[in-house]
């Protein structure tokens, strides 16, 4: 896994760097309207990367990850609304609580496998959604039930996580995504990553080698929830509204999982690639056809999914890097021969 992927990634480095540069620089020079799409790309990339940390590595499909996104969003927003705590601090408190919550939830869930696991996470998501919708207060905290949390504008203050222009939001996301990808990469190359991959390929063998299955799954879960909670805080601050029927929705969970799966689960950059492919398609189609032919955009979305799976069943990451590599090899075949000789 590691060695292979590294070489892949670094051999396609021209494109990788190009891609990252586009993500870093281009949003500065486009309309706000395009910036929104970039923000959504990174937002979903962030969520999908977090999903990937636990599900991609362990090989179980969680279809309820929006719950943790929502918990993060709720906690940091409540801290802001009720305790006037800056989201910059609140998001860490939220992350810590979400991580603990994730571990508690994961404890029973990870006893299940395959479809049982996937569908239990669906049930969990629905349960939390209905619960929040129907309960105004929980433990004396006013969750405002189905109405959701409306964050008041407080003027463009950095301290309040509120910015005048989209680009600032964007760079906040860039930082979050960078951290997440870095964490993913570190995990992948550490004991944890080896253990998770081992668990994914054969839990029995893994256990016989002294790997505590639940412990490592839960560590991954904790990290994943910690990070996705940041995405939740971002969501709340960016849209300035957190409603249970969306943030805890099955649709949201599925979307997160889809992007990671289409990108390539268990890979470091897959989720980002998945988001780069799917989010613009959705946004474009929904804008173009949402008003005239409701349903068309989701229809095409479905077809795209089918095609991706049929032709790249393990996600777009490997085929795309392979393609980049071969293009690169052609483009730079000149200088390459000497390099290869040198290597040998």
């Amino acid at each position: 896994m590691n060695t292979k992927e590294h070489s892949n990634f670094f051999q396609g480095k021209v494109f990788a760097i190009l891609g990252l540069l586009i993500l870093l620089i281009v949003p500065n020079f486009v309309d706000t309207n395009v910036q929104i799409v970039f923000i959504l790309i990174l937002f979903y990339a962030l969520c999908a990367s977090c999903w990937n940390i636990v599900c991609g590595f362990v090989g179980e499909l969680s279809l309820g990850h929006a719950v943790f996104l929502g918990v993060g969003a709720y906690i940091s927003s409540l801290l802001l609304m009720d305790c006037s705590l800056s989201p910059w601090i609140g998001m860490f408190i939220a992350a810590a609580i979400t991580a603990v919550f994730g571990v508690i939830v994961g404890l029973p869930c990870f006893r299940l496998h395959g479809p049982y696991f996937a569908l239990t996470t669906i049930a969990l998501g629905e349960l939390i959604r209905i619960f929040v919708e129907n309960n105004e207060t929980v433990f004396g905290i006013n969750l405002r039930g189905a109405m959701g949390l409306v964050l008041k504008q407080s003027g463009n203050q950095f301290i309040a996580f509120e910015f005048a222009n989209k680009i600032t939001y964007y760079y906040v996301l860039v930082a979050l995504v960078a951290v997440t990808i870095l964490v993913t990469w570190l995990i992948k190359n550490s004991k944890l990553g080896f253990y998770l991959t081992a668990i994914k390929s054969d839990p029995d063998a893994a256990e016989s080698l002294g790997i505590k299955l639940t412990k490592y799954k839960l560590i991954a879960m904790g990290i994943s929830c910690f990070l996705i909670s940041f995405a939740g805080t971002f969501y709340a601050q960016y849209f300035r509204y957190v409603g249970p029927s969306r943030i805890f929705s099955h649709d949201m969970s599925v979307q997160i999982a889809l992007i990671a799966l289409v990108g390539g689960q268990g890979t470091v950059f897959g989720p980002l690639m998945g988001a780069c492919l799917l989010v613009p398609i959705t946004e474009f189609l929904s804008e173009e056809f949402g008003g005239t032919l409701p349903g068309l955009h989701l229809f095409i979305y479905g077809i795209v999914m089918i095609l991706v799976v049929l032709y790249m069943p393990r996600g777009i990451f490997h085929p795309v890097t392979k393609l980049f590599k071969s293009i690169e090899a052609k483009l730079f075949s000149f200088g390459k021969k000497s390099v290869q000789k040198g290597e040998k």
């Binding site: 706000t32 919708e133 300035r240 509204y241 409603g243 029927s245 949402g290």
Partner: protein, 446 residues
């Protein structure tokens, strides 16, 4: 390409006409005014969003066919329609697109309160006038946003109207009132979907009912998407309320209504619906007249409009011809919201957003002046925004289905002449609905 009804759709006939004569105006010279719409066209409330859309687009068509915005030299109106997918984040992203890419002059949306909240905030941030339509949540216009206006009522209005309707019923039938009194006062059951809309209505109803000293015998939130509501029917039957109030969207409203009828549940003061699903044309296609006979609905428009005003009757016919249904609350809401936007632009006489906002602030339209402008199809006596941007005159009608026909009786101004509410509800399950007329039939004015 987003839906652009305007020039393309209406120019075809006019161009054909123009071709036979000579080209009168160079179409390139005519300025274009853009109105943005964000509606739920997919998802749970899609049928409703579709009717809004139908109404608004027909209103725009009408204006364009009649020479566009006069104060701007006959400017044509272009509608840019997006689907909110009933999701707050999609909705607010679309509003942002409207503000930045499409650069519209005014925005109308988004029906669901949960979507309207963040979406109207985006409009506020971009200093673009936003007309909230459909969303009844009080807080939408209580945030001090100067760019946000609401034509339709708040939730508290809806409920207040209904309770007033119940009062009227009690007055209309003193015997029933006495019987209710004798049984220890009026009792009611609240059944509602557990979304912000449903629970808001229930909460406000309770507050108002407490003031009147009524007793709540059942408070039942239901998760939306039920395929059977027999369990709820049993519960209601056991609670035996005088009034049932329900708030459901179309799908649950259908299932609920059928369950009530099957279980022969017949509260003496009737079944009252806040609207939502029971204002939807689809509801009436799915239910038989017997099932909704005698039920009360808070309609967000004056159902008597087509009978009171010829021009409204004409629009209703056109609507039927085009969409297969007569005017509904949602169609009327869409229509009026679009017309208000147009009126503001007409008054401003320019694309300048601040001028349009000012025009909205100053807007004052009375129903009786609408004979030519056809602005108010929703049956409000007047449209005038208060300092919060709320139209304080917005009011609906309480109607009762009698022989399958909508009979308005509250407020009195919207009452169908010659009718009064049937109270107590007769126990005629065997014959109920046998003489009912199809839905949409006009009442014979007595």
């Amino acid at each position: 390409v987003p839906q652009t009804v305007a020039p393309a759709a209406t120019e075809a006939p006019t161009q054909a006409a123009a071709a036979t004569e000579t080209t009168t105006t160079d179409s390139a010279d005519v300025p274009v005014v853009k109105i943005g719409f964000v509606w739920p066209l997919t998802g749970n409330s899609a049928t409703i969003g579709q009717q809004h859309s139908d109404g608004a687009l027909m209103a725009i068509e009408e204006i364009n066919a009649n020479g566009g915005i006069k104060s701007m030299g006959g400017a044509k109106i272009e509608a840019v329609v997006y689907d909110s997918e009933t999701s707050p984040d999609v909705g607010s992203s679309r509003v942002e697109t409207l503000c930045t890419k499409d650069n519209v002059d005014i925005i109308v949306g988004c029906y669901n309160s949960a979507v309207t909240f963040p979406a109207s905030e985006v409009a506020q941030r971009y200093s673009t006038p936003f007309i909230s339509m459909g969303g009844v949540k009080n807080e939408i216009t209580e945030r001090g946003y100067e760019w946000v206006f609401r034509v339709n009522n708040k939730a508290s209005y809806d409920v207040a109207e209904m309770l007033k309707g119940v009062d009227l019923c009690l007055q209309a039938s003193p015997d029933t009132a006495a019987a209710v009194e004798a049984d220890g006062g009026l009792t009611y059951a609240l059944v509602y979907e557990s979304t912000d809309w449903g629970s808001d209505n229930a909460r406000i109803w309770k507050e108002e009912a407490d003031k009147r000293g009524w007793t709540c015998v059942l408070d039942e939130p239901v998760t939306s998407g039920q395929s059977d509501m027999s369990a709820q029917a049993i519960k209601i039957k056991k609670a035996n309320p005088d009034v049932i109030n329900f708030s459901f969207y179309t799908n649950d409203a259908i299932v609920f209504t059928k369950a009530l009828f099957a279980n022969k549940i017949n509260p003496r003061l009737g079944v009252w619906s806040v609207g939502g699903g029971s204002q939807d044309a689809a509801f009436y296609k799915a239910c038989s007249p017997a099932e909704y006979e005698y039920s009360f609905v808070q309609e967000d428009w004056n159902v008597s409009m087509p009978y009171l005003y010829d021009w409204a009757a004409k629009i209703s016919e056109d609507c039927y011809a085009k969409n297969g249904y007569y005017i509904t609350s949602f169609f009327a809401q869409g229509w009026t919201a679009a017309k208000v936007a147009i009126a503001a632009i007409e008054a401003a006489g320019t694309n300048d957003k601040e001028a349009i906002r000012q025009a909205l602030v100053n807007l004052d339209v009375k129903l009786e002046d609408c004979a030519d402008s056809h602005i108010i199809l929703t049956g409000y006596p007047e449209i005038k925004f208060d300092q919060d941007g709320q139209n304080t005159f917005s009011s609906g009608t309480i109607i009762q289905y009698q022989n399958g026909v909508q009979i308005g009786f509250s407020p009195l101004s919207a009452a169908t002449p010659g009718y009064s509410p049937i109270i107590p509800i007769p126990d005629d399950f065997a014959t109920r609905g046998s003489t009912s007329k199809p839905w949409g039939t006009a009442p014979e004015v007595k």
